[in-house]
């Protein structure tokens, strides 16, 4: 049963949300009690950029290099997740299991070697 197994994580999750919310609430209470200042002006609230005015928004395109690494990550992370069940039962399996697993790892290693050869792993 999922709730029985992981219900206690839910309790901890609620605690994890409350714990950082407390200091933020205290900060807000300090503002209500007029202990903490709140004097805004356009210069103070401007986006920080080492003294010059920030040019445009930063919600735009960024380097395509990141997507290549993200794709590589997805492939390899899924691979590792598939390998965990094999690792748990591995001691009870015979030599064949190693052959099959090494075939699986080998295909992905070939993919990694190919990506490396094509220069996808270079950070430029």
């Amino acid at each position: 049963m999922i709730p029985e197994q992981f219900g206690r994580v839910g309790v901890l999750l609620a605690f994890a949300l409350l714990f950082p919310a407390l200091p933020l609430a205290a900060s807000y209470a300090f503002y209500k009690l007029r202990i903490r200042p709140e004097n805004h002006d356009p210069i103070k609230d401007a986006t920080y950029e080492c003294g010059v005015e920030s040019e445009g928004t930063s919600w735009g395109q960024f380097n395509a290099r990141y997507y290549l690494f993200a794709l590589g990550f997805v492939i390899f992370d899924v691979e590792v997740v598939f390998l965990y069940p094999w690792a748990v039962v591995h001691a009870e399996l015979a030599w064949q299991a190693i052959l099959k697993a090494s075939l699986f790892i080998g295909i992905l290693a070939f993919g990694l070697a190919y990506a490396w050869r094509r220069g996808a792993l270079e950070w430029r």
Binding site: M1, D45, V88, I105
Partner: protein, 471 residues
């Protein structure tokens, strides 16, 4: 310094020996009193029962037995979700979560001081020593100051998303402590998919960091967030591969079983698989965004990375959770690779959770030591190290461990002989592959220029140096 040379008249404060002596006496008296009270309670002088505090899980089990008796007469309101003994289930969960939260909160308070003092000691300066005795009240002063700061949110920012990340980073920060095996019976969540749970929960920190960088609408913050995400996802693969070796060797993803395996075989997995230990530790520093891998907040390049726009208490939360995560990494290194709560049979006498905490703080100390010693790596160096170095050699090591486990099944030598062979094979493989792969990547040690600092001795001794200076 004489007064004549000191026009600003800096007030030099020296800690008086009287204060230190008084504090010491108070501490000794307090310790003696608490040991006496503990002895009276534990030995049963009050009620004739002998209490076992070496494992807090036992006390919890007694409580749950008693609650189950109470539970028997109650209507089974929640039994469809939480099993038949739902009162003891909820009580256990609440008590355990409160325990973890108390530990975590105290940890954050004391670590602000510990970390700064240790770094100060390593960098030959004093660290915080003004607020309270030995600067011990510095974290309280810091928290007070941060709470009182004005809340600044840049005009262009996404206001709702800007508030979320400092809260969200606490979810992985606190939830990873659920699977920590403190003692044989002291687990909050002893699930049979503990390793997967750990990987899944810890990887959500990436999301919070990217949200922070995106919501700030600041070029530096977004750059820092992108770099952090790229680094964290790259190092998650070697980290999972290192844990895969642990699972292969022990045949279980349950953390208590992994520790029990090390106890039963009288060996630490770190000795059997040094490469896995190194990979796990180094990848963890990347996941933590700590030096040598702190390109997330490379202040010489991108101001402060993803939390450039965060100030006041929101910055304090980011700072605090990073310290807590560092100790969590120490705890998991201890559980997976350093034998957990066991210490050569001493766990019968010393409470196992104290041994475990000592090992966890040992791991944390190494992290602080690294931070005080090493400079920062460049982003492209880090990415190359993960993808071209750690991942290929970890894959090879995984296959080697798989072959060893199968071979151990067919061999019928004593445990000691088999594990010694495995350890020797893995050590030899580690030394070989580290050199061989570096050569394959084009590293030639003979071509490296060796730069040595000029010592006073080479200039003719300290007296010559003094003469040069005073001339």
């Amino acid at each position: 310094m004489s007064a004549a040379l000191d026009p600003i008249r800096v007030r030099v404060r020296v800690t008086s020996p009287r204060l230190a002596v008084t504090l010491g006496i108070v501490l000794v008296l307090f310790g003696a009193a608490s040991i006496g009270i503990a002895y009276v309670v534990v030995s049963g002088m009050l009620d004739g029962h002998w209490y076992d505090f070496r494992d807090l899980g036992l006390g919890m089990a007694h409580l749950r037995e008693w609650l189950n008796e109470v539970n028997a007469g109650q209507p089974a309101a929640l039994s469809a979700f939480l099993g038949d003994q739902w009162i003891s289930y909820i009580t256990g969960a609440l008590l355990g979560a409160t325990g973890i939260l108390t530990f975590f909160g105290l940890l954050l308070l004391i670590l602000v001081w510990v970390e700064r003092r240790l770094i100060g000691r390593i960098q030959v300066r004093k660290g915080p020593n003004r607020v309270g005795p030995f600067g011990l009240l510095q974290p309280v002063a810091d928290a007070l100051k941060l709470i009182q700061k004005e809340v600044l949110i840049p005009i262009g920012a996404d206001r709702f998303m800007f508030y979320l990340p400092p809260v969200l980073v606490f979810i992985p920060g606190l939830l990873v402590w659920a699977v920590v095996p403190w003692a044989p019976n002291m687990n909050y969540l002893d699930t049979n998919v503990g390793v997967i749970y750990l990987i899944a929960i810890s990887s959500t920190a990436t999301l919070a960091i990217f949200m922070a960088g995106w919501a700030s609408n600041n070029h530096y913050a977004l750059l820092g967030a992108m770099r952090t995400v790229a680094m964290m996802i790259s190092y998650e693969i070697p980290l999972s591969l290192a844990l895969l070796m642990v699972v292969l060797m022990t045949g279980s993803m349950q953390l208590s079983t992994i520790v029990q395996w090390q106890v039963d075989h009288h060996v630490w997995l770190g000795m059997l698989m040094p490469l896995a230990l190194f990979t796990f530790f180094f990848s963890s520093t990347a996941e933590l965004n700590r030096t040598p891998n702190d390109i997330a907040e490379a202040e010489s390049e991108i101001v402060a990375g993803f939390h450039t726009e965060y100030s006041g208490m929101k910055f304090g939360l980011f700072y605090a959770v990073e310290l807590g995560n560092a100790v969590a990494v120490g705890a998991f290194v201890a559980a997976f690779f350093l034998g957990g709560w066991s210490l050569f049979g001493l766990e019968t006498w010393i409470p196992p959770y104290l041994i475990f905490a000592a090992k966890a703080f040992g791991g944390y100390f190494v992290l602080v030591w690294l931070r005080g010693t090493l400079p920062r790596f460049r982003l492209d160096q880090l990415m190359s190290f993960a993808w071209k170095y750690l991942i290929p050699i970890s894959l090879l090591q995984v296959l080697l461990v798989a072959i060893e486990v199968t071979a151990m099944r067919y061999m019928h030598f004593p445990d000691f002989v088999e594990l010694s062979l495995v350890g020797a094979a893995n050590l030899a493989f580690t030394i070989f592959i580290v050199r061989a792969w570096a050569t394959f990547l084009g590293y030639r040690p003979e071509r490296e220029q060796v730069l040595k600092p000029t010592m006073a001795k080479q200039m003719g001794g300290l007296r010559a140096a003094e003469e040069m200076r005073t001339r």
